[in-house]
Symmetry: C2
Subunit: 200 residues, 2 copies
């Protein structure tokens, strides 16, 4: 696509990872050839191996960089001691912000994490999934106990629906569009919290 000229070695590496992430997100990891990444970055396939050990290393670096930043954001939210409803609101908003910043990485994670986590190198994906599930489930259960959420809903199902809807948004969300991440989060929260039918 467009050649990338970085001033620094670190910048160059980051730029290459960014284009790799875009191609991975668009075509899928396995369907993406190393030559295609090189084409989009403006160099030849072999030259990528000056910067990275392997195609797998690029994927690893993309995913763990994203997950580190994601979990940092989640950590501060969970440590803030908010009520259940406010915690859910903050988590959802954080998630849409991450989609805004790491769109391709989110798409890759959603698409490949399931079968990648079987591989030892990507075992941390399974850990993340568990920490994730715990954070959401605890918050939802606390909300039910404190009468902030309805008691007649299956909490696990609600968790799955909410989780999926938030992350799958990465497949259609494009940064710089009409809706800001915060606006999307607000609309989504309004739908899930209040429902789409009018409250008399």
């Amino acid at each position: 696509m467009n050649a990338i000229t970085g001033n620094d070695g670190v910048e160059r590496r980051a730029a290459l990872l960014a284009t790799a992430a875009e191609v991975f997100a668009a075509r899928g990891y396995n369907a993406t050839t190393v030559r295609r990444i090189a084409d989009d970055a403006g160099l030849l396939a072999g030259s990528l191996y000056y910067h990275f050990d392997s195609k797998e290393s690029m994927l690893d670096e993309i995913l763990s960089a994203f997950l580190d930043e994601l979990w940092a954001g989640y950590g501060t939210v969970l440590a803030a001691g908010l009520g259940p409803r406010e915690t859910i609101e903050a988590l959802v908003t954080q998630s849409f912000r991450q989609i805004d910043r790491h769109g391709p990485a989110v798409a890759i994670y959603q698409r490949e994490s399931r079968h990648l986590s079987a591989q030892p190198r990507f075992a941390y994906l399974a850990d993340t999934r568990l920490k994730f599930e715990n954070a959401w489930l605890r918050t939802l259960e606390r909300g039910v106990a404190e009468r902030a959420f309805r008691a007649d809903l299956d909490v696990r199902l609600v968790y799955r629906f909410v989780r999926d809807t938030v992350w799958v948004a990465a497949s259609w969300y494009r940064p710089g569009g009409v809706h800001s991440p915060e606006e999307i989060a607000r609309q989504y929260l309004s739908m899930v919290l209040e429902g789409i039918t009018p409250r008399t």
Copy 2:
């Protein structure tokens, strides 16, 4: 995995397509080798070409068979002349029934339809997507006009969220589990229609 012995030629073909769909759904279409499908079906790679023209033909047949049946169900719902809320309820229930019956096909569609629809052979995927969007958007807009749904929500955003949540369920739903498709549809509709916070 397990060898499949069909009595009829048509049965055999269907059984082979079923195993192919499972592998496609689990690993992704491009990442799936024809030898892997053959292994799981209990024959050799070349032998698959007695039944099918190509790997692409298998994918085509899987997707169009699923979409045909899906649209048959949607058609009767849309022709029934129900109110907006009842139409949404029926569409969602229909969708979860399709996930129950065509789980792998749904997963494949969700994962690959975007970049497949650029290919001429799979142009019908783009058409389906449009018909889909029209059906949902019209129903939602009619609901807003008839005061069955809230007017302060962005209908397009609601559509995307609802669509994604319903279909992505194919990635975790397993037939024969504790929840029937109808039960899952009921819980999901309750969440989206009424919201997860208590109505006083």
